[in-house]
C-alpha cells in the first residue's frame, strides 16, 4: 500500500526558509507574493492488511520519527494500489 505523510510547521513556529523564499521572490521581481509556506511530503510503500491498518502504522511512524510534535504537525493519506 502507498502512503503519504505531509509534515508542516505548527502555526506560530516561524519558518525562516519560507520567509527567505518570499524575500527572494520579491527581489527577483515577483511582487505581490504572500503567505509562502512549506510542507514536506514523505511517500512510502508498506505492507498492510487494509487501509485502516496502514493508516495506523503510518501514524505511528510519523509520531515516533517522521514529525517532531514540538514544532510540526502531520497528516497521513493512504492511496491504495
Amino acid at each position: 500500500m502507498k502512503a503519504r505523510v505531509a509534515i508542516r510547521f505548527r502555526t506560530g513556529v516561524l519558518d525562516p526558509e519560507a520567509r527567505a523564499i518570499e524575500k527572494a521572490l520579491a527581489n527577483l521581481g515577483f511582487t505581490g507574493v504572500r503567505g509562502v509556506s512549506r510542507t514536506r511530503i514523505i511517500e512510502l510503500e508498506l505492507e498492510a492488511s487494509d487501509r485502516d491498518a496502514a493508516e495506523a502504522e503510518v501514524r505511528r511512524m510519523s509520531e515516533t520519527l517522521l514529525a517532531n510534535p514540538v514544532i510540526e504537525t502531520y497528516s497521513v493519506t493512504i492511496a491504495e494500489r
Partner: protein, 220 residues
Amino acid sequence: MRAAVVTFPGSNCDRDLRVAMERVFARPVASLWHAETELPPLDLIGIPGGFSYGDYLRCGAIAARSPIMAEIARLARRGVAVLGICNGFQILTEAGLLPGALVRNLRLSFVCRPVRVTVVTASSPFTNAYRPGRELLLPVAHHDGNYVLEAEELARLEEEDRIAFRYLDNPNGSTADIAGVLGPGRNVLGMMPHPERACDPLHGGEDGIALFRSLLATLT
C-alpha cells in the same frame, strides 16, 4: 569521575570533546559506540557535535531514536550528567530530554565564529565554577541552532532558572537569545556553542575550561 563520549555515525566532534575532557579531568574518557546498549557505570555522558546520520530528516532526529539514547535517557532520569553540544543539543531535544527544538538559522547559512555568551545560572553541575553574568567567548559552528520553544515553556525555563547561557550577539535567531538550557533535573545540559573548542590557548581560548572543571568538582 567516570566519563564517556558517544559516537554516532556522523558524529565529528567526539574526539575533540574527549580530548578536552581528558585534559581537564586528567584521566581517560571512554568512547561509547552508538550500537552499545549496556553502558558501564558513568557519572557523565557527552553527546558530541557533528552530523549524526547526516542530519537527514531533521538534525539529531535519527540519533535520538537509537537504542543507546533510550539507555541514556534512563541514566539521565537517575541523575547521571548528560552534556549535549551542538548536534548533541539537537539530539537531546529530539529525544525529549530537553524542551524546544532547533531549526535552521535565521539567516539560513551555516555560521562558524566565536560568539559572546553570558553565564545565566551558576547553579548546575556544568556551570558552578562560573560567576553568573560572566561573559565568555565560545565558538559556534552550526546550521540549525535557532532554538524555538513555546511561550509557556520559556516562562517555565526562566522561572526554574534553567537557562544556562545566553548569546550577547545572537548568531542564529534563537528565542530569548538562549544558547544553552538545563533539563528539569539540572543534570542535562544542551548548548550550541562548543566549550570543547575553548580549552586551549592555541585554539579557541580557554573560556570553556570552567565548564569541565565544574563537572569535575561536582561529580567526583
